[in-house]
C-alpha cells in the first residue's frame, strides 16, 4: 500500500525514532511502513491519521 508517511514525517523534521515513540511502536515498524513492506493495522493507521491530523485515506492509498 502506498503512503505519504515519509513526506509527512520529514515535513515535521521528525526522525523515524521520534515518530515511533509518538506512536508507541518500534522504529522497525515505521521503516517497514515507509518502505511499503508492511501495511499497518487499522488502529495504528487511525493513530497515524490522528497524529498528523489528516484522514487515513489521505495518508494511505491502495
Amino acid at each position: 500500500m502506498k503512503n505519504k508517511l515519509r513526506e509527512l514525517r520529514a515535513a515535521r523534521e521528525w526522525s523515524q525514532g521520534d515518530l515511533a515513540e509518538k506512536l508507541a511502536v518500534s522504529r522497525q515498524t515505521i521503516n517497514a511502513i515507509e518502505t511499503e513492506k508492511y501495511d499497518p493495522s487499522l488502529p495504528l493507521a487511525l493513530k497515524i491519521g490522528k497524529l498528523f491530523r489528516l484522514p487515513v485515506e489521505e495518508i494511505f492509498e491502495t
Binding site: 515513540e21 509518538k22 518500534s26 515498524t29 508492511y38
Partner: protein, 147 residues
C-alpha cells in the same frame, strides 16, 4: 504512551540489551533447565524408585515450562504489531518444524534407524533445542522480509 517491548532487549550484542528484561523473560526457562538437569542426575542414580515418583520427577520441568510459556505470551503481547507478527511467524515455523523433525525421528526410530542416539524419539531436551533453533531461523527469515 507505553513503550512497546522490543526483541533487541533480550538479544545480547544488539545495542539495546537489558539483562533485567532478559531475566524477567527467561528466568522460568533456566529454572526448568536446572530442574531437568537435576532430574536426569537423580533418575540415573535411583533407578529403583517407584514409577510414580520417577514419572513425577521426569515431568517436573513442565511446571516452570508452563510459567515460561505464560511469560513469553505476556512479552509478545507487549511487542508492537510488526514485531508481534514476526514472532508469531517464527513460533509457527518452530512449532511446525519441531513436529516434523520429531515425527521423522520417531518414524526412523520405529524402523530401527537411530539418529545421533535418539532411539525413542526426540525427548524433552532435544525438543527444546530443536524448537529454539527453528525459532531463531524463523525469526531471522521473517525479520529479513521487513528490513
Amino acid at each position: 504512551m507505553d513503550k512497546p517491548n522490543v526483541m533487541e532487549a533480550v538479544q545480547p550484542c544488539s545495542g539495546q540489551y537489558s539483562w533485567k528484561t532478559d531475566l524477567r523473560l527467561n528466568r522460568w526457562f533456566f529454572v526448568a533447565a536446572v530442574i531437568w538437569v537435576g532430574d536426569l542426575a537423580l533418575l540415573k542414580q535411583h533407578a529403583e524408585w517407584s514409577p510414580l515418583l520417577k514419572g513425577t520427577l521426569a515431568l517436573a520441568p513442565l511446571l516452570p515450562g508452563l510459567m515460561y510459556v505464560w511469560t513469553c505470551v505476556r512479552f509478545i503481547r507487549g511487542l508492537d504489531e510488526l514485531q508481534r507478527g514476526i514472532q508469531l511467524e517464527a513460533f509457527l515455523f518452530a512449532a511446525v518444524g519441531t513436529v516434523l523433525v520429531g515425527a521423522a525421528i520417531s518414524t526412523l526410530a520405529a524402523q530401527g534407524v537411530s539418529l545421533g542416539g535418539l532411539n525413542h524419539g526426540l525427548g524433552m531436551g532435544a525438543t527444546v533445542m530443536v524448537m529454539f533453533t527453528l525459532w531463531l531461523v524463523g525469526g531471522a527469515i521473517a525479520n529479513c522480509r521487513y528490513k
